[in-house]
């Protein structure tokens, strides 16, 4: 049985490479059939905002790429309730079907996975 990996993505989408790198780890792991989870934490929850239009930035569309996670077998998707609330995203529609977890549930989530990496 392959070890499960939780990827914690905690950077905003358009200003640096971290959000892209976290997604690339998830897509590559998914392509290899690894049991993966992905948690959006801190500024990482900004990746989940609906209706983002990065075309003018001339970057690959991370928000569109994120939608492919379930196709790559990454279906365990989570977001931190506290991070969403602080950023005014708690009541908004998000672009991914994430489970929103409170701190206690996040502790249990991190404990459940064999390996964790935070990007």
């Amino acid at each position: 049985m392959a070890k499960s990996l939780l990827i914690i993505s905690r950077q905003a989408p358009w200003s640096g490479p971290c959000a892209r790198e976290a997604l690339d780890v998830a897509l590559a792991g998914g392509a290899f059939d690894l049991p993966l989870g992905m948690l959006f934490l801190d500024d990482g929850v900004f990746q989940l905002a609906a209706a983002q239009q990065p075309d003018a930035l001339q970057q690959k569309n991370l928000a569109a790429n994120l939608q492919a996670l379930p196709m790559f077998g990454v279906e365990e998707l989570f977001a931190c309730a506290h991070s969403l609330a602080r950023r005014g995203l708690a009541d908004e529609a998000l672009n991914l079907p994430v489970q929103v977890l409170d701190d206690a549930a996040l502790k249990a989530l991190i404990a459940r996975f064999d390996q964790v990496v935070t990007l």
């Binding site: 897509l27 998914g30 392509a31 690959k60 790429n65 492919a68 196709m71 790559f72």
Partner: protein
């Protein structure tokens, strides 16, 4: 860098034979690319190429093998979305070769 001749047009390819500019794709370009791989495109090929182009339009990336199979099964049913069928149509490397013929970038997570 190599090129592909389609009718009276010359299209630039990268070192692996993928289109450098995705805007250069046309059904005729797909046929020319397929001919280079000794493949004659049938309706069975075309429905997969269309599924791939749909995948790219939706997700802005090229699928690895597993998501290609999953997405094809979703769109065309399990009798099409399975690896024997896709391997048979695309010389055993469906994610890479079908992406090339569909005018998509080379898949980065390809096994």
């Amino acid at each position: 860098m190599s090129t592909l001749t389609v009718g009276d047009r010359t299209i630039a390819l990268d070192k692996d034979g993928f289109l450098l500019d995705l805007q250069d794709w046309s059904p005729e370009a797909a046929q020319a690319l397929a001919a280079q791989e000794q493949i004659s495109l049938t309706d069975e090929h075309w429905e997969i190429l269309n599924v791939l182009r749909e995948f790219y339009a939706q997700y802005q990336l090229s699928p690895a093998t597993r998501p290609l199979i999953k997405y094809t099964a979703l769109k065309l049913g399990a009798d099409k979305g399975n690896s024997p069928h896709l391997n048979r149509l695309f010389n055993g490397t469906p994610a890479k070769l079908a992406a090339k013929l569909a005018g998509l970038p080379k898949p980065t997570n390809c096994i």
